[in-house]
């Protein structure tokens, strides 16, 4: 008996529920038609959201791409676990040289498998036509050549052992270090293996061409051995830029950095820490984040203004229709769902278009100098932005419709 009553009850409930759902589903159809009834407004809303979503995805993607360049030299040097440097260094290009003896002190610390020197500095190269070009010269440990370029396009890293050997990055070789065209105004001729140039009056012969990840520094990158780099560099007491450390297997890296700091008084960072140190430096000491922040904010505001305003206007224009539906017995709840559906619909379309356009933009720019890093977090970021705009637009519309007196239907 009891179960029978319960059964009937739940059946009744289910019936009521399915009725409500059915009403909702069919009213959804009306909501969509109402939204698309005014093609101009509908397009305006979608375009506003597309714009907002495009700006909110593309600008941060460029920003992330740009910021990742700040530390790309560090991530290119894959092998070492820990970077040791002067305690006052703030980022990768902030070179404060050490004495060569520091290398041996680091090698003596327990837990260090190996430690190698690295020279990094800006030097002037004299090209065949007599002009000068500042280059980013990297000197690698003579014996192991640890810290070399990530990809060799021509020649081998070991070719650096040949006398006067240097490796040049492809962008530098084709552009800034290129030889002037014999025809005036023609394209420069890229440097090839076997060509030479002068670094501080020392002859340097190109033994390889490498591909490196682009950095903030637009200068050509030249790799050579540590001792040769020292001979190219102006004579100074200190020339060691970094000590690159590999930890013994099983060695805790944080513990090792602490130990190196304690023993030498130098700064020691894991690769990740050094990357984020550099990243943070650019975040806090350059106008880049604020510039992009303003772009994103503008995109958000303009998108919200266009889309939100048009959406609200369209609701205002349809107010009488909502009033008619209300008079005929449609509940506020269903009207609310109708407006939400309209907002979700335009939001999804605008977001999809904006993100799609961003992807197309990134793809078409993949070979250009433009920095672009499209991560899934960005999808979340712009998705949240577009959702906020839609929620805002829907909310002001919903308030208007809920407050609407159905008696307005008889007003002329």
């Amino acid at each position: 008996m009891n179960t029978l009553v319960r059964c009937q009850f739940s059946l009744h409930d289910k019936l009521k529920l399915s009725l409500a759902i059915r009403e909702l589903k069919t009213m959804n159809h009306i909501a969509i038609k109402m939204l698309m009834g005014d093609k101009g407004k509908y397009l305006g809303i979608v375009m506003g959201l597309t714009f907002a979503s495009l700006i909110m995805t593309q600008q941060p993607a460029i920003f992330l791409g740009l910021m990742s360049r700040s530390y790309s030299f560090i991530s290119d040097v894959g092998l070492p676990d820990i970077w040791v440097m002067d305690a006052k260094v703030q980022f990768i290009d902030d070179i404060k040289p050490l004495q060569d003896t520091e290398l041996y002190r680091v090698r003596g610390i327990s837990g260090v498998k190996w430690a190698m020197p690295m020279y990094k500095g800006l030097l002037k190269a004299r090209l065949v036509d007599g002009t000068f070009q500042t280059c980013n010269v990297v000197g690698l440990d003579d014996a192991t050549l640890i810290g070399g370029p990530p990809v060799m396009l021509e020649g081998k890293l070991a070719d650096l052992r040949r006398s006067d050997g240097i490796i040049v990055d492809i962008d530098g070789a084709t552009d800034k270090l290129g030889k002037p065209s014999p025809i005036p105004g023609g394209k420069t001729i890229p440097l090839k293996v076997g060509d030479s140039l002068e670094l501080n009056d020392h002859r340097a012969i190109i033994v390889g061409i490498a591909k490196v990840t682009r950095t903030f520094q637009s200068q050509p990158v030249i790799y050579t051995t540590y001792s040769r780099a020292k001979s190219y560099a102006p004579k100074e007491r200190k020339l060691l830029s970094f000590v690159l450390v590999k930890a013994k297997p099983g060695q805790d890296l944080t513990e090792l950095t602490r130990r190196i700091r304690a023993a030498t008084g130098l700064a020691a960072y894991t690769q990740k820490e050094f990357m984020s140190l550099t990243y943070e430096y650019f975040m806090h000491n350059t106008g880049i984040p604020i510039n992009f922040g303003i772009s994103v904010l503008l995109g958000f505001i303009v998108g919200a203004a266009i889309a939100g305003q048009t959406f609200y206007n369209s609701t205002l224009e349809n107010l009488r229709q909502f009033g008619v539906l209300k008079a005929m017995g449609t509940s506020n709840w269903i009207l609310l769902r109708m407006i939400l559906l309209q907002a979700v619909l335009v939001g999804t379309i605008g977001y999809g278009l904006g993100v799609g356009l961003t992807a197309i933009f990134g793809y078409s720019m993949r070979h250009s100098i433009l920095a672009f890093k499209f991560t899934w977090e960005l999808l979340l970021f712009s998705g949240t932005g577009v959702s906020l705009i839609c929620i805002f637009a829907a909310l002001i519309s919903i308030i208007k419709v809920i407050r609407l007196e159905p008696a307005i239907v008889f007003k002329g």
């Binding site: 009306i30 109402m34 698309m36 005014d38 005929m328 159905p406 008889f410």
Partner: protein, 246 residues
Amino acid sequence: MDSSSFAVRCRNVIKVYDTGSQKVTALNGINLEIALGELMMLVGPSGCGKTTLISIIAGILDQDDGYCEVFGEDLLNMSIQRKLNFRARNIGFVFQAFNLLPALNAAENVSIPLIINGMKRAEAERKAATLLEQVGLGARVTALPSELSGGQQQRVAIARALVHSPRLIVCDEPTSSLDHETGHRVMALLKDVALHKDRALVIVTHDARIFDFADRIAKMDDGCIVEVKGATNRNLSFHQPTRSKR
């Protein structure tokens, strides 16, 4: 007469609009009964409260005082949801400005009351198309309101007011936007298809040329009913729809 033979009973209904700066007494003690099977017209000068009164009768406006009963139900004291359901099931609306949804075609417009009452879309539109045929628009089922003449739009609106077989149909100036001849045809149609022995029609109008269609005419002035003309014998107004005519 027992209460069950009335569609509407109003007792001393008062409505005051408070606009903040001033109070406007729109209805000042309305007493009115509308019998089942009756077509009642409300006439009177502009601003006398006709629209206010039918809004209260239709349950889309609450009176401030007095009692108004529609099919034996006191709308004022109903819960919101019950009132919505009551309106959805029992009231049909016809407006001066038609108030069709411009993005929906004729059949979709007519199907709205059925959809609100929970009918499936396909079925509702089928039923709507049948009714459109009855009001002489069988060929324009998929036309948008903007593609129809004023008279045709009002016929669509009438079909929408009737499609769910409501027991009370309220019309505010249904012929004012139409020329005389079209207005006449719309009224004939309304009376023909809408009036039933268990149904009532309230029509607000200025249009003296359609007074002939009324069973009774209530004249209002300054928020009061000042005169009710016409036979009170409901039997005279019984009228079976003769649907085969069209």
